[in-house]
Amino acid sequence: MTPNSPEKDKEFIDLITTHQGIIHKVCSVYCQNETDREDLFQEVLLQVWKSYASFKGDSKISTWLYRVALNTAISMYRQQIKRGNKQELSLNELQLADKPTDTAFEERLKFLYQAIDKLNKIEKAIVMLYLEDYDYRQISDIVGITETNVGVKLHRIKDKLRKMAKNQHT
């Protein structure tokens, strides 16, 4: 850990404590097993730490965190070793503790996770930001493509998801 003032350290830890959900979500979407997930979480944390000093508050904290987390998740070097089979998401993980049993909801949740998993890395980033209610301009700022292109890609993703849903029902 790079030496820094204790106040700055505390400020950073507080920031991550509050906004860690963003990093967890990115890790869930880009990692298929727990080891990868832990590696990516630590790598994102480190990248956020290194970039924190240069954060001037020009954008919202959440937007800045998404930018760093997605850049890291997409470009991170992973060891070319096999880490066992891809972990299937268990039904237990899909069931939410405080949620009453709702088969239709669970079905949507399972479909969502499986569908996102089948998208490529860029599509995952775009659909994730869209599901987080970011508008086309904000997605365009984070991803670096035009708003029109964001629209085109979302249109394609919707088609893909529809086809997946159709296949699931047939």
């Binding site: 969502l112 890395k121 984070i142 493509i145 249109h155 529809r162």
Partner: protein, 208 residues
Amino acid sequence: MIEFDDLKGAWKEFSKAQEEQHRLNAEQIKQALENRTLNAIGKIKYALNLDMALLALVTVFMLGYALFFDQTVLPLLLLVFAIVWGFTLLLNIAVHLLLNRVVSAKADLKTSLTRLVQKFGSGIRSVYLLWLVAPVAGVFLGFLVHSSTGSLTIKMFFILLGIGLGIGILLFPLMYWYLNKMVGKHYQELKRCLAELNEEAPVDDSEE
């Protein structure tokens, strides 16, 4: 049929569950940051540092032997270790640059990927070039160190050039395989992502 916007509700619940399941307190976050040296990347760095330390130990031992017991092998050892250290140092610098990369918090994904792909491309081309240049330089250096006359005729020049290039070309498949094993898949994946971002597809109005 599941509609795209219906999934937003499911996503929000999924996000909430993920955060609850993996939530860390302040102390755990601090630990995660400090323990990062133990993760996969940390292990690669540790292995590299260990390699460098072992190489340094062997170098000191061999040079010590040459200096105190058999000075005739000193020039040859100096040459061999200079080349080995040169290669190891270059490889280490490249790997450290790759692993210690700082993601730009200001650049968008496309800009960041463009820079990374360019760096990777230049790095890989440099390794190919060095792989051919280094044996040629090594053969010429060896000739200059060991030649009693030190004179280099045109005929000898071409013979040495042929030997150097021959070594480089013969070992090229090995280096190509190793480089691809180390970074090939990652580089191809980065290029695929960049191509996806660079693609400006027309909207098909007939759908939706």
